[in-house]
Symmetry: C2
Subunit: 316 residues, 2 copies
C-alpha cells in the first residue's frame, strides 16, 4: 500500500512541515483558507529550512472541489478548525484515508462524524516556525507518533504505510498499534506545559522541572501531571511514556541546545499573538475526562479557567 497523492489541510507550521517533506516523495496538494496563501505557495513552492533544507512545488487551493482526489488527507489545522476541515471534505474522496495530527483528544471523532474514511491518529513532537506563507523553519526534528483509529476500522498496515511515507520524506516516525497510550502521554504533557507557559509567559525552561525550593514551578508541574495520570488510569489507559519524564527530558534538551534555545509552547505563542488557544482541546479535554470518571482534578480545573480567561475565549 502506497500513497502517491497526498492532500494536507492547513499549512501552519505542522501542516507545512508535513506538506514540504512529503512533497519530496509524493504529489502534494495543500488546502488553505486564504487565497493569497494559496497563490504564494503556487508561485514559490514550499521552502523548509533548519533541520531540513529544500524547496518543493505544491498545488495549493482554497476549494476542496478543486483537489485531485488524494489517497491520503492529513488534517493539520489547529484543533478548533478540524470541524471546518472535515466539513470541507464531507461527501468527497471515498477512497481516501484521513489522518488527524492535533494536540489533545477528540478530533478523530469530529472527522468520523463527517464520513466513513479510515482514520489514522497522529500526535507530533516536531516543531517549526512559519517564516512566511511559503517558508517554514524546522526546529525540533522529534518524532511523529501514529496509529490506526480503531473505531473507524483502520488497519495497522495503513498506519504503517503512512509512517513509511513520512520516513521516506525525511521525518521521524513511530507507528504504534494503538495510539491512545501515546496520545494520552502527549495530552498530559501538553496539558501541563502549555497552560503553565501561557500563564507565566515563560518558554519551556528548566524551571518547569525544578523542585528544589517549595515555591519552585516543578512542584506545580508534577502535581498537574499526577492529576492527569490519575485520569488516564481511571480511563483505562496505560501511558506510553511518563509525562513527567517527557517534561524533564525536554527542558534538559532545551538547556543543552546551542543558542540558548528554549521552546515556546504553542499556547504561549498563541497568547502572545492574541490568538485563541487550543485550551478546550488540551487541558479542557482532560478536565472533561476527569469529570466523566469522577477523578478530582482541582489544579487542572483551576488552570483551565485561568487560560480561558487569559485568552479571552469567554468572549466567544
Amino acid at each position: 500500500m502506497t500513497f502517491d497523492r497526498v492532500c494536507v489541510i492547513g499549512a501552519g507550521s505542522i501542516g507545512s512541515l508535513c506538506a514540504g517533506h512529503l512533497g519530496r516523495v509524493a504529489d502534494v496538494s495543500v488546502l488553505v483558507r486564504r487565497p493569497e496563501h494559496a497563490a504564494e505557495l503556487n508561485a514559490d513552492g514550499l521552502t523548509v529550512s533548519g533541520k531540513s533544507d529544500f524547496t518543493v512545488p505544491v498545488a495549493a487551493t482554497t476549494q476542496a472541489d478543486q483537489l485531485d482526489p488524494p489517497g491520503l488527507i492529513i488534517i493539520a489545522t489547529k484543533a478548533m478548525q478540524v470541524e471546518n476541515a472535515a466539513a470541507a471534505i464531507e461527501g468527497r474522496f471515498p477512497d481516501a484515508t484521513v489522518m488527524t495530527i492535533q494536540n489533545g483528544l477528540g478530533t478523530e471523532e469530529v472527522v468520523a462524524a463527517r464520513g466513513e474514511w479510515p482514520i489514522v491518529s497522529a500526535v507530533t513532537f516536531m516543531s517549526g516556525t512559519k517564516e512566511s506563507d511559503s517558508h517554514v523553519h524546522y526546529e525540533l526534528d522529534t518524532a511523529t507518533w501514529m496509529g490506526p483509529f480503531h473505531p473507524s476500522g483502520t488497519s495497522f498496515e495503513v498506519a504503517q504505510a503512512i509512517g513509511d511515507l513520512f520516513v521516506e520524506g525525511g521525518l521521524k516516525v513511530e507507528v504504534l498499534p494503538d495510539l491512545r497510550p501515546a496520545q494520552w502521554s502527549k495530552l498530559i504533557f501538553n496539558a501541563s506545559v502549555n497552560p503553565v507557559a501561557a500563564l507565566t509567559d515563560l518558554p519551556h525552561v528548566g524551571l518547569f522541572a525544578r523542585r528544589d525550593r517549595p515555591t519552585d514551578l516543578g512542584h506545580l508541574m508534577f502535581d498537574l501531571i499526577e492529576e492527569g495520570k490519575r485520569v488516564a488510569t481511571a480511563a483505562g489507559v496505560e501511558l506510553f511514556e511518563d509525562p513527567w519524564e517527557m517534561n524533564s527530558r525536554a527542558v534538559q534538551q532545551g538547556s543543552t541546545h546551542d543558542d540558548d534555545y528554549a521552546h515556546v509552547p504553542s499556547m504561549l505563542a498563541d497568547v502572545r499573538a492574541g490568538r485563541r488557544t487550543e485550551i478546550d482541546f488540551i487541558l479542557g479535554s482532560l478536565v472533561r475526562e476527569a469529570q466523566r470518571h469522577g477523578v478530582p482534578a482541582p489544579l487542572s480545573e483551576g488552570l483551565y479557567r485561568l487560560v480561558k480567561a487569559r485568552d479571552r475565549s469567554y468572549d466567544d
Copy 2:
C-alpha cells in the same frame, strides 16, 4: 491624643494619598528613596486629584536623620521594602507611634524587630494612580481599616487618634479593636484577586465573580477563597467580612462605574510594569499559614508558584 507631626515613608500611590490628605491637617514629611523624588516634592508640593482636589506642601528627604521627630510614622512602602524602612528609623524617634499599611501579613513583626514603638496595623481599600512624583490621582475612596497591633502594647485610643486624623484629612476610616479579622478578610480577598489578575492579564472585572458555566473564572475565585477561609479558621481568626462577598461587591461597583472603569489590581500593575510583585507577602503568607496549620491548599500553592514564575522572582 493628637499627632501634629507625621512622617510618611514611601510615596507610591498609597503613601502619597496618606501624605497629601494628612498634609491638610498636620505637618507632614515624606521619606523617599530617590533624591529627585524628594526635590520635586519640596519644589511643587503634593497634588491630589480625582476624588479629592488640592495641593499641599510637604517636606521630603531621603535621609531619616534629617526628619523633625514625628509623632506618627506611617510606613507605606510595598511589603518587601518594610525591612529597609524599619531599618532606617531603627534607634530613632522613641516617642513615635508606627503604622504599617501593607497588603498581606507580617509587616508589623518586621517593624517590631527594629524598635519598641507602639504599632498600629492598617489595611486600605482606597486606590490611586501616580501621575508623577508630585501628583497622585485618587480613584477609589474606600475605607482604610486600622487597629492596635496588640503584641506591641498599643492602646485602642492611639489607633482611634490616628483614625480621627485621617478623617479630618478627608479619608474614610474604620477603627477596629482587633485588626486581624479585617486583615485576614483583605488578605484572602487579595490572595485571590491579585494572582488571578496577574496571571490572566485581566483587571478586576465581572468575570471574577461569574459562575454560570463550569469554566467560568468565578469558580476558581470561589475555590481559592474557600481555601483561604479554611486557613483562617485553622488559625483561629473569625473573618470581619466574607472575601467572596467583597469580591462580588467590588466587581459590581466596577461595572456600574461611569466610564467602563475596571480596577487594575496592584499585582497586575506590577507584572505589566515588569516590577516584582508582593506575592510572597500576600498569597505566600497564606500558603505558609496553611502549611503551619496543616490545611491543604493546592490551588493557593499552585497559583503562588505560577506568579513567582511570572514575575521572575525566582531570579532573586
